[in-house]
Symmetry: C2
Subunit: 205 residues, 2 copies
Amino acid sequence: MTDQPDAPLTRIQQKNRDLILEGALTAFSTNGFRGATVDQIAEAAGLSKPNVLYYFASKDDIHKTLLTTLLDMWLAPMIRIDPQGDPLAEVLGYVRAKLELSRRFPRESRLFAYEILQGAPHLTEILGGSLRQIVDTAAAILGAWMDQGRLARVDPHHLIFSIWALTQHYADFDVQVRAVLGPGHDPFVEAEPFIESLYRKMLAV
Amino acid sequence: MTDQPDAPLTRIQQKNRDLILEGALTAFSTNGFRGATVDQIAEAAGLSKPNVLYYFASKDDIHKTLLTTLLDMWLAPMIRIDPQGDPLAEVLGYVRAKLELSRRFPRESRLFAYEILQGAPHLTEILGGSLRQIVDTAAAILGAWMDQGRLARVDPHHLIFSIWALTQHYADFDVQVRAVLGPGHDPFVEAEPFIESLYRKMLAV
DNA sequence: TCCTTTATTGACCAAATGGTCAGGAACACG
DNA sequence: CGTGTTCCTGACCATTTGGTCAATAAAGGA
């Protein structure tokens, strides 16, 4: 499409790339990378298959673009944990933000879930690199608060894992949760006070 | 292979079906249903592709067989919760059993994760049927203990979800957990005391 | 041993799928 | 306008893949 690698995008390029990524998010998060077809993506985006491949070099390229783009949104709440803030309020704020992400962006959550399940072929460097650094930083903050006796002593890393597990479960396993609860339930609405009280009890000094 | 629908399996049939299911478990849990190929399964089983399809009608058939076979193992610990037992001990026993399943059978855990992510096309009746009943029964036991003041009052269904989320996370997101922790860690060994203390605090009256 | 049943496979097929390409349509802009 | 660039598509291709089948080999039982 363009020979200039860093040429600014035209309006049409911007719009169509967005359409494609939006359609691909739905396709990949529903069927996984292998299960989604370029035709599906094209139809979801309202474009022809060759046109999709005019804007992206390959199916793989679309997937990689999605993943790296979304990773920032996914990690943002953890970066916002403030060492100067109130420990419990900061943790609960993070929990709430993460649950809100699961509620509002379940497709993104599932996309990551598929990727990790598959062994994270596109994310290995990131997982052990920047993600690990961000987590270590957050864990250090939590650890310091525990040292100061402002939070109950628990393993900070596993505390973070537990938050991920609990919040993402409601997005990734949505069908199971809904099937078990039956109709007339809003899993996310019920989950919030449950998870909040869980961490209040766990982290109370 | 056999016209008799309920004919007992010969020794060869038994062995080869087992080989196929074993190979398929690895293939499906690594790449998902769509990502796994019959050739892969055949190679993992040490059989030829036509021979695999001699023992199972289709790839789908293999998948469904695996899923339903494994569901029992997966649900067993919840059924063993004893209304006559000590409440906290019963819950912690269930948690430990579930974590042990994740540790020993991560492929099975991932197989289910893929299935649920996909919207549980093969399990919809089961999810809203027998699974729901089993969960409701367990939730009722937990609720009764809470009524008697022997466990802290929390939403029993979400308590169960939290156990699933926390324990399965270590199997399903294994690569992520290991990448973040770095080498020299055994996630499951560290997770057990963390999760146990979590539920001790949460459920203490 | 002989004969029926069960196992196994190479060769093959049709459909699906990621991707290409030449050429035409739409657009931007002097 | 006109012209160069960007955008778009129908037709096409090679590969992968689930599945079939006729034919052969191996068991098994009387």
